[in-house]
């Protein structure tokens, strides 16, 4: 069944894979530094777990490569509902960690269903948009089906009190909008609705600590020792890196653990502190290249579903990266979103690698139709 076409190998996208491997390697090295203070000699348990996640991710990628991605169009809805069920189950099964219920715990394995949901959503939306007749302008109300597909998981994640992931999921879903050819007046109506929703959310939907985080972003000096502390410490870490950085394992903010959650959400601060402008600008360029490359895959795919799917997959990697980097640089409120390929976190790594695998899949099959 797994017949390897020679053209598949000829068309294999080594650039995308190469970019991903570089990012993941840097992420592991960075994680070793971030956990160095606790671990002392040897590898920290976080590094071991991350390496395990990378191995699992590689297996996932390989499977994605061998199977024609078009099978996903048929499996889209079952996969979507499965991930929705996983997310829903956290409401009943998951323990409350840091104020939100977003983890499913199976013995030593902790799964974040919201990460799986990203993929499920992307696939389901790709299917939904692919089914729409292309070419003509659409009214907003014609988008009720993808809208519903998006609203269900976002609503459920909001119920888990995980604001950051809810926003992230919303943005990933919205990634399709620029490609959906919508009339201008619909955009206006949409914009109004979004603003109304944001106002309502601010007043009724947010916990006070979440409002606090946003206020802290607007004015980090509001309480330098409370939640604005993270933003300030991160900015200090990044800024103190200077041009050349303080050197690997030499970042004082990192090694003395002034950075909060430095191996997960603030992994990029560690990099910026130790490698300076040189290292962090290089990393940003790698991400940019990866994402542009992903969009190029969407552009070059001769097949409709593949093209739409690639757009969604790029969105699923773009938004967390943007939110995370903006937060680290003090440009966005502190939202617990991991940096794909970089932050410590098995679920994120696994899903990001599978997303990359699917992109590779679309890419190498671009000439087959």
């Amino acid at each position: 069944m797994l017949r390897i076409d020679r053209r598949l190998i000829q068309n294999f996208d080594w650039v995308l894979l190469g970019l991903m491997v570089i990012l993941i390697s840097m992420g592991i090295a960075n994680l070793m530094s971030a956990t160095h203070a606790q671990a002392g000699e040897g590898l920290a348990p976080e590094v071991r777990r991350q390496l395990l996640a990378v191995s699992l991710g590689s297996v996932g990628m390989l499977i994605c490569l061998f199977v024609d991605y078009r099978i996903l169009e048929r499996l889209a809805m079952p996969f979507y509902f499965l991930s929705l069920a996983l997310v829903g189950s956290t409401l009943f099964l998951a323990p409350v960690i840091h104020g939100s219920q977003s983890w499913l715990v199976f013995g030593p394995v902790r799964l974040q269903p919201a990460e799986v949901m990203k993929l499920g959503l992307v696939v389901a939306l790709a299917r939904s948009f692919h089914h729409q007749p292309a070419g003509e302008l659409r009214l907003l109300r014609e988008l009720w089906k993808p809208g519903l597909l998006l609203a269900a998981p976002v609503g459920m994640i909001l119920l888990q009190r995980d604001m950051g992931v809810a926003v992230l999921t919303l943005l990933i879903g919205a990634s399709y909008l620029p490609f959906a050819r919508i009339q201008t007046r619909s955009w206006v109506a949409f914009g109004t609705a979004v603003i109304a929703a944001l106002v309502a959310l601010w007043n009724f939907g947010l916990e006070s600590y979440q409002r606090g985080r946003i206020l802290d972003f607007v004015d980090p000096a509001r309480d330098p020792l409370a939640s604005g502390y993270q933003a300030i410490q991160s900015t200090i870490a990044v800024g103190s890196g200077g041009f050349f950085g303080k050197g690997y394992l030499e970042g004082t903010q990192t090694q003395l653990r002034f950075l909060p959650t430095q191996h997960t959400d603030f992994a990029f601060s560690v990099l910026a502190e130790e490698w300076g402008f040189l290292g962090s600008a290089f990393t940003l360029l790698l991400y940019l290249l990866f994402l542009i490359w992903g969009l190029r895959i969407a552009l070059h795919s001769k097949e409709g579903f593949g093209s739409v799917l690639a757009v969604g997959l790029v969105g699923a990697l773009f938004w967390p990266a943007v939110i995370n980097i903006a937060m680290v640089l003090g440009l966005a409120p502190v939202i617990g979103v991991p940096l794909p390929f970089f932050s410590y976190g098995g679920s994120s790594m696994l899903i990001s690698m599978i997303a990359a695998g699917l992109l590779l899949n679309v890419s190498m099959r671009r000439y087959m139709f």
Binding site: G239, T252, Q253, L256, L295, L299, L329
Partner: protein, 622 residues
């Protein structure tokens, strides 16, 4: 699609610009902030310099005090930590919680002291559990220790946190809030010498405040040493003697023992005293309030601040003045019928029956009031005042301890100024026996009698002999200071001295209780009236304590070559000879006993011979 690519590229362009801004434009600024983040500067307090007595025995030293602090922000499980600490320190859990409270904001990151003076075992217990107690730290700070507790408390003074009002002043320009300074006594006077120099240590700390690495350290330098003129043992003897001079009552009063030739203070006692050790670690407000509100005023240094009418101790000054002015001769006899009449008033002699014909010698030995009424009237108040001032009354003796009071020497001009009334002759009468407006401090009495004893030289009381560095190198020496001589010819002083030996040694002398076997002691008793009693017949015991007279006694010895003068004041002690005399006797006895043992000359046979003589004599006072 190209628009989306441009959008993505623009987003990352913004990130690059932000990186440029943070890392390159403002990189230096953040570099400094990150260093400040991780480098903690710890102040290392300097140990206060040692204070030694004249024999270089420790009087005040510094010892390490172990404390426990918590940083509220780092208490992971506050309740468990309090429970554990409560058990380790044997303290109430609620107590500990109360001390810490629930501070907010920046204060959560600042250490709060839970205990400042742990025993070695307690500290070891906490230290061995430290890793189970995150947020709990042990500290070692130097702490002042006064070797003999309350002894010489007023002379040494006490220390405490610098006051807010002091912080801005020039004297304390380089002090910071919370620093320990000398608040009174020598601790205050010698502050700059004893203080030492605080050090500092820069350590790299992690976010939990744990010290990871020492960057650099400047060791604290202990303050300099001060060598006093004080004799620690004699001080203790004097305190003991004063405290036990009457049983059942809290003895209040003062003792000054001084070298008559150099002005060296050998003992300076004021009772009741306080324990300066209770101030060393920061006094709690309850103890402080109690000390302040105590009606017996334990914080008052009675030896230099307490002003009392000199009573009959003044008679030596009046006698010297009258002799010098040629108004009396040693041979002249004045008749004492037991009272003296001036105008419509009658002034009594303390001895109702009268002394009969009294010459100078007897007038001092038996302290005849009528003799001095006459002598005083011949002199007039202003001439008395001239001599009193010449003997250093009414002005500061110059003892380098704060809050010395000058006493008071009344004159006609003074009364005019003070009350707008002319001086009455009757006031001269009471002035000439040291009552009325006269006021004197115990230290002044010692200076006056030192001058009489040493032939007329006025010494300035000396407390500090020398200042040394912590390693013993000389910083400054304080030679004896003389403030002139009294305007009385030596032969007249000799007459006064001769009489005063009789006060102690004559069978009818008022100071017989001050006899020391083997030593020729001279002295003078005195009684300072507190209130003028309407009914002189009142029985002593019925008079309320606070209305009872103060008892004075001043003595010097040995008569043939005076070395030491001892001035004693027993507040509300009644007659001077009876209550104050034995205190002086105890001090003199100890002084000569230890002197003898120092010189290792056996004198037992000698003292045994004289011992039998010291019985009898007049116990009456004045």
């Amino acid at each position: 699609m190209p628009f989306v690519m441009i959008g993505v590229a623009l987003t990352f362009g913004i990130f690059l610009m932000r990186l440029f801004q943070l890392q390159i434009i403002r990189g230096d600024e953040y570099q400094i902030r990150s260093e400040r983040n991780s480098v903690r500067t710890v102040r290392l307090e300097a140990a206060r310099g040692e204070i030694l007595d004249r024999e270089r025995r420790l009087v005040a030293s510094t010892r390490p005090a172990f404390g426990v602090e918590v940083i509220p922000n780092e208490l992971h499980a506050p309740q468990r930590t309090y429970d554990a600490l409560g058990e380790l320190l044997g303290r109430e859990v609620l107590d500990l919680q109360g001390v810490v409270g629930s501070p907010g904001g920046r204060r959560r990151f600042q250490p709060i002291a839970l205990a400042t003076d742990l025993s070695y075992e307690e500290r070891a217990r906490v230290e061995s559990h430290r890793y189970a107690l995150p947020g709990v730290f042990t500290t070692i700070r130097p702490r002042r220790y006064y070797e003999a507790g309350e002894s010489a408390a007023h002379l040494l003074g006490f220390i405490g946190e610098i006051g807010a009002e002091q912080l801005g002043t020039r004297r304390f320009a380089d002090y910071r809030a919370g620093e320990i300074v000398g608040k009174s006594g020598l601790e205050y006077v010698l502050e700059s010498h004893l203080r030492g120099r605080a050090g500092g240590r820069n350590t790299i700390v992690d976010v939990a405040g744990r010290e990871m690495e020492v960057l650099d350290e400047v060791r604290a330098v202990r303050g300099g040493t001060a060598v006093l003129t004080l004799d620690r043992e004699l001080q203790a003897v004097a305190e003991q003697a004063l405290a036990t001079s009457t049983e059942g009552e809290t003895r209040t009063g003062a003792v000054v023992a001084m070298d008559v030739k150099t002005g060296d203070l050998l003992a300076l006692v004021s009772l009741p005293a306080f324990d300066p050790n209770s101030f060393a670690g920061g006094i709690d407000s309850k103890t402080w309030q109690a000390l302040r509100d105590d009606p017996l005023e334990p914080l008052l240094n009675r030896a230099i601040t307490g002003q009392y009418p000199p009573g009959s101790t003044y008679k030596a000054v009046v006698a010297a003045a009258a002799l010098e002015e040629g108004l009396i001769t040693p041979e002249e006899k004045i008749y004492c019928p037991g009272s003296f009449r001036l105008g419509r008033r009658t002034y009594r002699c303390w001895k109702r029956a009268g002394h009969g014909w009294v010459d100078l010698q007897r007038s001092l030995v038996e302290s005849c009031d009528v003799y001095y009424y006459q002598a005083g009237l011949r002199l007039g108040v202003d001439r008395i005042a001239f001599f009193a001032r010449a003997f250093s009354l009414g002005r500061l003796t110059g003892i380098p301890i704060p809050n010395e009071q000058p006493g008071l020497v009344p004159t006609t001009a003074w009364k005019e100024r003070r009350f707008g009334e002319p001086w009455h002759k009757g006031e001269t009468v009471s002035t000439s026996i040291g009552q009325g407006y006269n006021l004197m401090t115990p230290i002044q009495l010692a200076v006056i009698y030192a001058a009489i004893a040493n032939g007329g030289a006025l010494v300035e009381p000396r407390v500090v002999r020398r200042l040394e560095t912590k390693d013993g190198a000389l910083v400054r020496e304080y030679p004896p200071v003389f403030r002139g001589t009294v305007p009385v010819r030596p032969e007249n002083l000799q007459l006064v001295r001769d009489a005063m030996e009789g006060v102690v040694s004559a069978p009818n002398g008022t100071g017989s209780r001050a006899r020391v076997p083997g030593v020729r002691v001279a002295g003078k008793t005195g009684t300072a009236q507190v209130v003028r009693l309407k009914d002189d017949d009142a029985e002593e015991v019925e008079i309320r304590r606070e209305h009872r007279d103060h008892a004075w006694f001043v003595a010097y010895a040995p008569v043939e070559a005076p070395e030491i003068v001892v001035a004693v004041l027993v507040e509300h002690g009644g007659h001077g000879g009876a209550t104050a005399g034995p205190v002086a006797q105890a001090v003199l006895a100890h002084y000569f006993a230890s002197k003898v043992s120092d010189e290792t000359v056996p004198v037992l046979e000698r003292s045994a011979a004289v011992e039998t003589v010291s019985v009898g004599g007049g116990d009456a006072s004045h």
